[in-house]
C-alpha cells in the first residue's frame, strides 16, 4: 500500500484557485450551494438554509440588510474623505471648500457620505419599528433587541460626531447645544461635558476628540456589535411571518418549507443592494450636502437648531425644564425601549403584524391620539399655559419640570388603562398602542421642530421656516 505523497492536483492554476476558494463555482446542487455559504467569509453570516416565508420582502422590507449596505458605503467614502481632511479649526472649513471645488468627485463622495449617514438613522429606526410590530423581539431574541437599541444610539453618536467636522456655523452651534445637554446630568454632567469637549467650550480640542470618536472608536464599536447582532440572528433564526389565524404566511401547510440560502436569499440581497446603491448615487448626484458659512463662535445663527434627529429632543426642551427635557424623559424612554422584550407576553403573536386585528385598530388609535394630542399640547404650552409665570414662588424645576412631567405621565397611564378597557384588550395589545402613541409623538415633535420653528424658535408655518 502506497499513499500518494501529495494528493493535490498537479495544475498550478487550479491549486492556487482551490487554496482561495474551497468549493466549486458555480455550485451544482443544493449540497454544493450550502457548502459555499458555510465556507465563505461573507456568506457564513447566513445560515445554509432559511425558512421560505421569511424571504417575503414585505415582511422584513430588507431594512437590516440596507443598514449594512449603508455602513459599507459610509466606511468606503469615509476613508476616502480622511485623505483630504485635517481636523483642525484652522484648516477644516478650507478643506471642505477644497473638497467641493478642487478634489475630483469630492462633492459627490461627500454627498454619498452625508446622505448615507442621514439615511442610516432613518433605516435603523424603521428596522426597529418593523421588529417591534412583527413581534420579532420575542424569546430567544430579547438580548438582540437590546444590542439593536445600542446600535441605534451608536448610529446617532456617529452622526453627531461627524456633524462637527465641516466646522461651519450649523456644525458649531448644533454641537454647542447638543453637548450642553450633558451638563444637566447631576453631579458628573459638567465634568463629562468638559471631558468630551476637551475644555469649557467647543474648540480645537473638541474637533480632535470628535474626529477620533468618529473615525475610530464609534465605527469599531459599531462593527463589533453589528457582527454580534447578525451572529445572533443567525443562531436564533428570523421570525416567521404568520397570518392572523396563526397559519404561516406564504406556506401551504403548517410545515415550514426551507430553501437554500444560495441563491434564494443571497440573490434577493444582491438585487436589493444594487437598486438601493443606484438610488443613493442618483440622489447624491442631484442633492448636495449642506455647508454654511465658516464657524463663528461669536455669533449664534437665529434660529440655531440641533441636527434633525435631535429636533424632537430640542422641542421637548422648549416645554420642560432641561433636567426633564434632556435627561429624565429621554432616559426613561430609552430604558423602557430596552426593556420591551422582557415584559410578559400574554399573546402568541410572533410574526403577526400588529399582534392581532384588535392590535391593528389599537395601533391606529394610538397614532390618531398622538396626532391630536401633541399639536394641541404644543400650541397650549406655547400660547396659553405658562407655569413658571403662574407659580412664580416655586422653583422652575418643579413648576416647569415635575408638574408638566407628572401631567404627561398621568395622561400616558390613563391612555393605557383607557384603551385596555375600551378595546377589552390584552396587555400586549395595550402596550403596542402606547408604543405607537409615543413613537408618533416623538416623530411629530421632530417634525414640529424642523418645519414649524422659525426665528427665535417661535411657532411658524412651514413655508415661513423652510
Amino acid at each position: 500500500m502506497t499513499e500518494p505523497f501529495d494528493p493535490r492536483p498537479e495544475d498550478l492554476k487550479q491549486r492556487v484557485w482551490e487554496s482561495i476558494q474551497r468549493d466549486e463555482l458555480p455550485p451544482k446542487d443544493d449540497r454544493g450551494r450550502m457548502r459555499v455559504v458555510m465556507n465563505n467569509l461573507v456568506l457564513h453570516l447566513h445560515p445554509s438554509k432559511v425558512a421560505k416565508p421569511t424571504l417575503k420582502f414585505t415582511y422584513t422590507w430588507g431594512l437590516g440588510g440596507l443598514s449594512i449596505l449603508l455602513v459599507a458605503l459610509l466606511a468606503v467614502t469615509g476613508v476616502m474623505l480622511m485623505f483630504v481632511y485635517t481636523p483642525s479649526p484652522a484648516t477644516a472649513y478650507m478643506d471642505m471648500l477644497a473638497l467641493q471645488t478642487e478634489v475630483w468627485f469630492g462633492q459627490f463622495v461627500r454627498n454619498i457620505h452625508h446622505w448615507s449617514g442621514n439615511l442610516l438613522v432613518i433605516v435603523a429606526f424603521l428596522h426597529l419599528l418593523r421588529v417591534f410590530f412583527t413581534g420579532g423581539f420575542r424569546t430567544p431574541r430579547e438580548f438582540n433587541w437590546v444590542l439593536g437599541v445600542g446600535l441605534l444610539l451608536l448610529v446617532v453618536a456617529a452622526n453627531f460626531t461627524g456633524y462637527l467636522l465641516p466646522w461651519d456655523q450649523l456644525a458649531y452651534w448644533a454641537v454647542t447645544v447638543g453637548s450642553s445637554l450633558l451638563s444637566y446630568v447631576p453631579v458628573i454632567g459638567e465634568g463629562l461635558r468638559n471631558f468630551l469637549l476637551g475644555g469649557p467650550e467647543v474648540g480645537a480640542a473638541t474637533l480632535t476628540n470628535f474626529y477620533g470618536l468618529h473615525v475610530a472608536i464609534i465605527p469599531l464599536t459599531l462593527m463589533g456589535i453589528v457582527s454580534f447582532h447578525i451572529w445572533r440572528v443567525r443562531k436564533d433564526t428570523l421570525s416567521i411571518p404568520h397570518k392572523l389565524d396563526g397559519t404561516i404566511d406564504g406556506a401551504e401547510s403548517n410545515q415550514v418549507e426551507k430553501v437554500t440560502t444560495l441563491p434564494h436569499l443571497v440573490s434577493r440581497e444582491v438585487v436589493f443592494a444594487l437598486v438601493m446603491t443606484g438610488l443613493i448615487l442618483l440622489w447624491s448626484m442631484w442633492v448636495n450636502a449642506p455647508l454654511e458659512a465658516a464657524a463663528n463662535p461669536d455669533h449664534s445663527p437665529n434660529p440655531a437648531k440641533a441636527a434633525w434627529y435631535f429636533m424632537g429632543l430640542q422641542e421637548l426642551l422648549l416645554h420642560f425644564h432641561p433636567v426633564f427635557g434632556a435627561i429624565v424623559i429621554p432616559a426613561l424612554g430609552l430604558g423602557a425601549l430596552a426593556l420591551v422584550p422582557y415584559q410578559r407576553f400574554d399573546l402568541s403573536a410572533e410574526g403577526v403584524w400588529f399582534r392581532s386585528t384588535k392590535g391593528r385598530r389599537m395601533a391606529i388609535a394610538g397614532a390618531l391620539s398622538a396626532l391630536v394630542a401633541v399639536p394641541l399640547l404644543v400650541v397650549l404650552d406655547e400660547y396659553v399655559i405658562d407655569l413658571p409665570a403662574m407659580l412664580p414662588t416655586i422653583p422652575t424645576l418643579i413648576s416647569n419640570g415635575w408638574i408638566p412631567f407628572a401631567a404627561v405621565l398621568l395622561l400616558v397611564i390613563g391612555y393605557y388603562e383607557g384603551v385596555k378597557r375600551v378595546f377589552k384588550a390584552t396587555a400586549c395589545e395595550a402596550r403596542l398602542s402606547v408604543f405607537v402613541l409615543l413613537v408618533v409623538s416623538f416623530v411629530l415633535l421632530t417634525v414640529i421642530g424642523i418645519a414649524f420653528r422659525g426665528e427665535g424658535m417661535a411657532l411658524m408655518l412651514p413655508w415661513e421656516v423652510l
Partner: protein
C-alpha cells in the same frame, strides 16, 4: 489543615478575592490613565484672564458693551453700577446677543430672554446669565474672566460701583 470554611477564608476563596481585587485595581488604574490622557487641554493666555475693559467714564449709564475676546458684556446699569455678564446662555450655551430695541438679551436658540442685569424674563433658561467679577481700580474697570459665577437671582449686590472721589 483543618480549616472550617464557615469561619476562615479558604485558600481558594483567598485567591479568588485576590485575583478579583487585582483585576479591579488594574481597571481603575487603566481608567485613571485614560481619563488623565484625555483631560481638557486648556491653552494659557486665552479667554480666562484679567481683562482691562476701559475707564469708568467711557461707559454711559444704561449701556451694554460687548467684549468679543473676553466673551462677556460689560453692563452699566442706569444707577451707575457695573456688572460683567458671560455671554453664554445658561440654557444650552448659545452666544446671547444684546437686543437694544427690546432692551433685553434674547437667545436665538431657544428664545430665552434676560434683563439688562442678566435676570431671566423668559424661560427655558434655568438661571440668570453667569457673571464675572468686576474690579474698579483708579477709574479703570477690570473683569476677571477666570471663573463664571453662577447665581439663582440677579441682585443689586452683584453690582460694582466706582468709588466717589
Amino acid at each position: 489543615m483543618t480549616d472550617n470554611p464557615s469561619e476562615n477564608v479558604t485558600r481558594r476563596d483567598f485567591l479568588k478575592i485576590a485575583w478579583g481585587a487585582a483585576g479591579a485595581l488594574a481597571l481603575v488604574e487603566t481608567g485613571g490613565v485614560v481619563l488623565s490622557f484625555f483631560s481638557p487641554r486648556v491653552a494659557e493666555g486665552e479667554f480666562g484672564g484679567m481683562i482691562e475693559a476701559g475707564l469708568v467714564d467711557s461707559f454711559a449709564p444704561a449701556s451694554v458693551t460687548p467684549f468679543t475676546q473676553g466673551r462677556f458684556y460689560l453692563v452699566r446699569m442706569p444707577d451707575g453700577g457695573f456688572v460683567a455678564l458671560y455671554r453664554k446662555c445658561t440654557h444650552l450655551g448659545c452666544a446671547v446677543p444684546w437686543n437694544p430695541s427690546e432692551n433685553r438679551f434674547v437667545c436665538p436658540c431657544h428664545a430665552s430672554a434676560f434683563e439688562m442685569d442678566g435676570q431671566v424674563i423668559n424661560a427655558p433658561a434655568p438661571r440668570p446669565l453667569d457673571r464675572f467679577a468686576v474690579i474698579i481700580e483708579g477709574g479703570m474697570v477690570k473683569v476677571d474672566t477666570s471663573t463664571p459665577i453662577q447665581r439663582d437671582h440677579a441682585t443689586d449686590a452683584d453690582l460694582v460701583y466706582a468709588e466717589v472721589p
